[in-house]
């Protein structure tokens, strides 16, 4: 296999990726080479959103992006959503609202919702449902997740008012 060396900037920190096969996805490199398993691998075909990460300002499926194409970008994963030892509003809201069960969809949802609230801190129900419709959850039926988004949006409005 042809291998590459490149640098990825993840959660504000530069990581050297050595001897990587060019076909490796960003999800794979994050999880298996950089020790960042927060983004999840529920389908690895872009259908479930459990691998959602941010590349610059876009939320993408980490499984559909080749890691080697994400050089010179700011990559943010669930591990970088809050400073170490702290929680941001959406994370707090997920715990308070009971939006976490098995937790496998949680990192992807948090990255997606964080981005949604960044652009719209007063989303209506349908807007939220559409924004998270690419993130499958099998445990909750979404009720507590929607509640958590409302809670987090309120927290964010309060913080910015």
């Amino acid at each position: 296999m042809t291998t590459n060396h490149y640098t990825l900037k993840v959660n504000g920190k530069e990581h050297q990726v050595a001897d990587a096969w060019a076909g490796e996805s960003l999800l794979w490199v994050l999880r298996e080479r950089l020790g960042l398993p927060g983004a999840k691998n529920a389908c690895e075909e872009g259908e479930c959103g459990s691998c959602s990460v941010r590349i610059d300002d876009e939320v993408v499926c980490g499984c559909l992006v080749l890691a080697a194409t994400a050089v010179d970008c700011e990559i943010t994963t669930i591990e970088g959503l809050a400073p170490e030892g702290e929680l941001v509003d959406v994370q707090e809201a997920f715990i308070e609202a009971g939006a976490v069960q098995c937790g496998f969809c949680t990192p992807g949802l948090l990255v997606t919702i964080d981005k949604l609230l960044e652009t719209n801190n007063q989303p209506d129900d349908l807007t939220v449902r559409e924004a998270i419709s690419g993130n499958l959850c099998r445990c909750t039926g979404y009720g507590r997740i929607l509640e958590a988004v409302n809670l987090a949006a309120a927290k964010r409005r309060e913080a910015t008012s």
Binding site: G23, G38, A39, F94, R138, C139, R144, L146, E147
Partner: protein, 759 residues
């Protein structure tokens, strides 16, 4: 949204409060370790070669090409299995690796360990298997008469249930044939694990599962090792819903680690996951209901056939539930029910949330609506008139001694006002953003359904859980092998410990076979009762030891001492000691908790086979585009019999989540199998509800009637939400379309029905 009051606890929440999950912070920060996140120095990657044929004889397997690939450490086949080749949850009938025959598409044939998943894929492709393809047996109704496809035969289990006077005939009779498709559990965390060889020649496995000890016992036999040399530890579980009750990669990983002497990790792809675990049994069901002209149910006849697929798994228990609960939560004096589960070359079926009862609820509730129509009676009134209550007899002859608030769940559910807000946004229409529906042609339907099933294991199974409570310096540590799969047992274990011991801090030790006895399976809505009960008893034993010690040390009367809010005090008021001071010397209790005995059923299906039952009702509102066959479930309302609510917030999560799986089965979820082959093994083609598909779930009521014999009076609540939700949605679709819709999931073609067969 539901208007159930969720109170945030101030500190150290106990029973009845919405305690937060102890694993909440790691799960929202991405630091919680799921089984697919495991990693070890020097580890290899494992992979599985699966049969491309549903039925074939294996003439030869050539692994030389795979072994020659650089980076490949092991290629193993059935000849490398040192112990028993066969395993199984109820009957050992499934090969660890196929030897001379494959019986379903996806059956494991060979396993590989290599340095990179890509090397694994190339090695798997280089294994040459010479198959002699044979015609698959795919029709469950033909299975019993067909040539056996397994030495154990094609009938896995038949249960005949005869109850009451067999000559009763009702003046009003309704008949129907119903079908339920194959559902997938579709948990998000793929099957995965990491095995490590041990210095004593044994093996350690970190894995996501529902029942560690059963897995360990089954694998030890296949490895030819004593159970104590096979150590299984629970890793983070990304959902289960029944699909992890059977072994998947467990034995394979252990074989590879033992063979290579290195750690081996394996993770199934989503496609592989569809082939690598059992599904919900597809069912064909014929019913005839008899009633008098006043709407009193007199007799039910039913013929049920479930497709078990290639191997037995938990089919025996599934057909038992289907047969016992075939007619629903109604008092019926006479019944003749014949349930059979058969072997075919279709994918193996086994446990999924509410098994047996989910399928039959679709049938019995359709029949109740038909009967109401034949009687000219309101369907709710018909159900209330025949609703089971405590003291009534089931079709198995068993008297219900616990709570049976059937009328209460029905009434509170249908009386709950709808909170549906009309929306003219096209996203709210059937078909959604594609705007394929013409809003003026949308028809609305509404209906309800009720269902029930047994809690805990039945039919004489010695069902138990084990827990150890260790108390030192005022801190309790609980060790229990109960599989936390997302349901929140870890939260309850802390609440129960605080309740009994009055401690603030409760540490939960890892769930592992090496440190504690079996907790039994996280299934059958049983862990709140069984492992909750084990934790309660272990804490109570420690409390007793503590009070005895204090009475002895301080020369106070034992009967005078109580433990209240972290203080040991005497009722007479002259003695007080705080818990931390009293427990500088550790105390420990290791207990096994068994539920009340149950008994096998006799040749007529009669017997006290079950411990307890739980009931739920759902009301569904649907919008339908009758021209395009598109549907949208717009509201669900539910009431559930919970015994006693231990954690309101987690209970809401179970009711909402269970209902979403019911909605999925009603309108979208089916593993499509043609000639034994799965056609939609991906989330692209196997659709589960998204946030846009799922309606709000209104919780009309938690019916709290404490269950005698249950710890804290609480019933398990995981399964009932998935039972009547499907039936309610289908009934609402019938209301909207006026079609019979005898099959779930309801497909667009069933609604449009270009060839009209409206009854």
């Amino acid at each position: 949204m539901t208007d159930i009051q969720i109170t945030s606890p101030v500190s150290a929440p106990r029973i009845g409060e919405s305690a937060p999950r102890p694993d909440g912070v790691p799960k929202v920060t991405g630091t919680f370790t799921f089984s697919s996140d495991l990693w070890h120095n020097n580890m290899l990657w494992g992979g599985t070669l699966r049969s491309p044929h549903p039925s074939a004889n294996i003439k030869s397997i050539d692994i030389s090409g795979a072994l020659a690939i650089n980076g490949v450490s092991a290629v193993l086949t059935h000849t490398d299995v040192p112990g028993s080749l066969l395993y199984g949850l109820e009957h050992a009938d499934q090969p660890v690796l196929a030897a001379d025959v494959v019986r379903y598409e996806g059956e494991s044939v060979a396993i590989v360990a290599a340095d990179h998943p890509e090397t694994v894929r190339r090695a798997l492709a280089a294994i040459v298997v010479d198959y002699q393809v044979t015609a698959p047996l795919v029709d469950p109704e033909a299975a019993e008469q067909a040539e056996p496809i397994h030495p154990d035969g094609n009938l896995i289990r038949r249960l005949r249930l005869r109850h009451g006077d067999q000559n009763i005939q009702g003046e009003i009779q309704v008949e129907g044939t119903y079908e339920v498709g194959m559902q997938d559990q579709a948990f998000l965390g793929p099957e995965s694990g990491l095995a490590l060889p041990s210095e004593d020649g044994g093996v350690e496995l970190f894995v996501s599962t529902q029942w560690l000890h059963s897995d360990r016992d089954q694998v030890a036999v296949c490895l030819g090792l004593p159970p104590e040399k096979v150590r299984f530890t629970l890793s983070g579980v990304g959902g289960a819903f029944g699909a992890r009750e059977d072994l998947s990669l467990h034995a394979h990983l252990c074989l590879l680690a033992l063979h290579t002497g290195r750690p081996v990790k394996m993770v199934y792809s989503r496609e592989e996951s569809f082939h690598g675990h059992v599904h919900r049994h597809p069912a064909r069901m014929w019913y005839r209901h008899h009633a008098d002209t006043d709407g009193n149910l007199l007799r039910v006849e039913a013929r049920l056939i479930l497709d078990g697929g290639a191997y037995a798994s938990s089919s025996g228990a599934v057909i038992s539930n289907a047969t016992c609960f075939a007619a629903g939560p109604y008092l019926i004096p006479s019944a003749d029910i014949d349930g059979a589960v058969v072997r075919t070359n279709n994918p193996p079926c086994g446990a999924m949330r509410g098994f047996g009862a989910v399928q039959t609820c679709v049938g019995h509730e359709a029949q109740m609506d038909k009967l109401a129509a034949a009687l000219g009676m309101d369907p709710v009134e018909l159900r209330l008139k025949n609703a089971l209550k405590s003291g009534d007899k089931l079709l198995t002859g068993q008297t219900i001694t616990g709570a049976a608030p059937v009328a209460e769940v029905i009434k509170s559910c249908v009386d709950h006002p709808s909170t549906l807000i009309p929306s003219d946004d096209m996203m709210s229409l059937p078909g959604g953003a594609g705007r394929t529906a013409d809003p003026h042609h949308i028809v609305r339907g509404q209906a309800m359904a009720v269902g029930f099933k047994n809690l805990l294991f039945s039919e004489g199974f010695d069902d138990y859980s084990s827990a150890i409570c260790h108390l030192v310096d005022g801190v309790a540590t609980i060790t229990c092998a109960c599989a936390e799969v997302g349901q929140g047992f870890v939260t309850l274990a802390q609440q129960i410990t605080r309740e009994v011991l009055g401690v603030e801090e409760v540490i939960l030790a890892p769930a592992a076979t090496a440190t504690v006895g079996s907790a039994g399976s996280t299934s059958a809505s049983r862990q709140t009762w069984m492992s909750g009960g084990a934790v309660q008893k272990a804490c109570e034993a420690v409390r007793q030891q503590l009070l005895e010690r204090i009475a002895d040390q301080h020369q106070v009367n034992l009967d005078d001492l109580v433990l209240v809010d972290g203080q040991i005090v005497s009722l007479s008021g002259n003695f007080s000691l705080d818990l931390a001071t009293a427990t500088t010397e550790p105390l420990e209790a290791d207990i096994e908790y068994h539920h009340a005995p149950t008994y096998p059923v006799d040749e007529n299906g009669q017997g006290d086979a079950h411990v307890s039952f739980a009931f739920a009702a759902h009301r569904a509102v649907v919008d339908v585009d009758p021209e395009l066959g598109l549907v949208k479930v717009v509201e669900l309302t539910t009431s559930q019999d919970v015994g006693r609510l231990l954690n309101p917030l987690q209970a809401v999560g179970q009711l909402e989540g269970g209902a979403s799986q019911g909605v999925g089965l009603a309108v979208m979820e089916e593993v499509l199998v043609t000639e034994g082959r799965i056609r939609n093994a991906s989330f692209t083609d196997y659709l589960i509800p998204t946030a846009l598909d799922m309606p709000p779930v209104e919780i009309a009521a938690f019916i709290e009637q404490p269950e005698p014999g249950a710890p804290f009076g609480a019933k398990g609540i995981g399964e009932p939400p998935s039972i009547s939700s499907t039936a309610a949605v289908v009934a609402a679709l019938r209301d909207a379309t006026k079609r019979e819709l005898p099959r779930v999931p309801v497909r667009p073609t069933d609604i449009v029905q270009l060839e009209d067969d409206t009854p």
